[in-house]
Symmetry: C2
Subunit: 333 residues, 2 copies
Amino acid sequence: MPTIEDVAREAGVGIGSVSRVLNGGPYVSDALRERVLAAIERLGYRPSPVARAFGARRTRTIELLVPLFMAPCFLQALRGIEEGLSGSHYALLVRTIQDAGDRDRAFEECCRRGQSDGALVLWLTPPSSFFERLTLDPVPAVLLNVTADEARSVGVDHDASARDAVDYCIRIGHRRIALVDRAIDAFDPASHGLCVDGYRQALLQAGLPRVKAYEQKADFSQMGGAMALQTFLEQSEPPTAVVAASEVQAIGIVLAARDRGWRVPGDLSVVGYSDSQYSEYLGLTTIGVPVQDIGREATRMLLAALADPASAPQSIFRPTELLVRATCGPPRS
Amino acid sequence: MPTIEDVAREAGVGIGSVSRVLNGGPYVSDALRERVLAAIERLGYRPSPVARAFGARRTRTIELLVPLFMAPCFLQALRGIEEGLSGSHYALLVRTIQDAGDRDRAFEECCRRGQSDGALVLWLTPPSSFFERLTLDPVPAVLLNVTADEARSVGVDHDASARDAVDYCIRIGHRRIALVDRAIDAFDPASHGLCVDGYRQALLQAGLPRVKAYEQKADFSQMGGAMALQTFLEQSEPPTAVVAASEVQAIGIVLAARDRGWRVPGDLSVVGYSDSQYSEYLGLTTIGVPVQDIGREATRMLLAALADPASAPQSIFRPTELLVRATCGPPRS
DNA sequence: TTGTAGGCGTTATCAG
DNA sequence: CTGATAACGCCTACAA
């Protein structure tokens, strides 16, 4: 493997010049640049990324912290991130998080300027220590789909989305509307609900009573949705519509309901949250979340912060949109 | 940020000793280890991954080269890879490939011992130059779901899978069986089919004629499946069963057929390839591919090769399994 | 068993 | 504009 020194010798210049050519630095004459490039070509030289990172004290790598959930929106986000990254010369390190321990370790490490220059945090609620360090240390991070006052973030307004979903159900005639929510902190089932506030606001505004048993918090999985449905059906007055806090839960609810011989819609209406091909296949009425856009924008925001660490943190919210398909209808009277 | 030297000073030892403690090296007395660990603790020292990689000439990172397709099996593979990685201290760099140019660049770079110590190559057919370098250079790589004589690989026998699918269709009474295949090289539509050989073998063995128009090669997408179906339906004698080379294509076929008012099964039987929750939702009869297992095993194989670069390359094949669900039935007579 | 010194391949800072 | 030269933080012989 030739080094920068070999190139310098081959071109008859100093290593400083080679470095400047490599990095598009200023003050390089065309003649010198030509000679250096020719030497590089002849030797088949490639700079070592590791040595570069070491010397420059920056890795040109960003890391993605993401819970290991198998939902289609992960791929959508990843695709958005790749879009945001394309053109830049940054590489992507993926750290999947399986539990709270993983998460804390990952946040700890990523604060210490390790293998990456910045982090994208997807669907994870960082521990407060993370934010403390974020203000001290200029390690840029952007949160996706989670908000925090002190940090940069790109996401949606979950409560507004829930309100839209509930409003829609009310509009088509439902009055017994349930919520299958999920914990806002994926690793703390006791944490606040993702969109329960919006759900309650919508009921309140419509003058509908809040029924405690209609508010369930479930696992972020098909099974979670199915189990929550089970609980609803045990009520003396089961809901006629269910708003779910995720696509997978919604799908679980639809399938479980049909397994019991219920018609969806008809016997039960279901609204999901987030959208993919599979919601389309099932005809799921759902709140579309522009996950790919969010990934792209968050990545661009991170790159901008990397380029200008002094820039002020900002939070961007993207609108969601109700996609009316085939799992909602008027209640049976 | 404290360095190893600060730790050495704090502990009153040499940096060599600190390094040895850090790396679990031999010949360290317990007393010294204690003192060093205490100093590390006091200073909150963390070794710099970059400096480490630079000094040790190894990054403790592996990279994943993967085409940017949005199929559920990508997540399954990723999950398997994470499983294989867990416990090791390796990080995962993800390089998504969008076109042949990306691919060649990525292979070129990853051969030159750059940011990673080894590579996992998923669903990608490497250019032949890659294999040449693989034999010269000891950069370990493991291919997933693609085979090559000279390289380590973990995958399945695509032809055997296709034979199973076709045999099943024959067994339940079909005689006009079509194939929606895909190019084995994702970036070269003209490349050989993934499982066309197995398909032909099965027909031959059953004494069924090979109908040219029944063999389509389509995009690895829902649309690809739908378009291939279109072509079949233009035949004077359309097939009664279709074997697809992927889950997404199969889903596309099922949905497109139903859109036209065909019943699946009944008017048309469909067998998919690879399995996920969504196949389950749709009741797709499919060839189950243990993608997660493959990811795990490939990762372990790579780590083993990293630990012992001299070890002989091997190829592992995992069996696939026909999952009979609800998209196949006897043909209408 | 422990400490020391040299090297890894760049970048960046200076004089020239 | 260009060429030395000093970091960068760690690993690893090798010497003690």
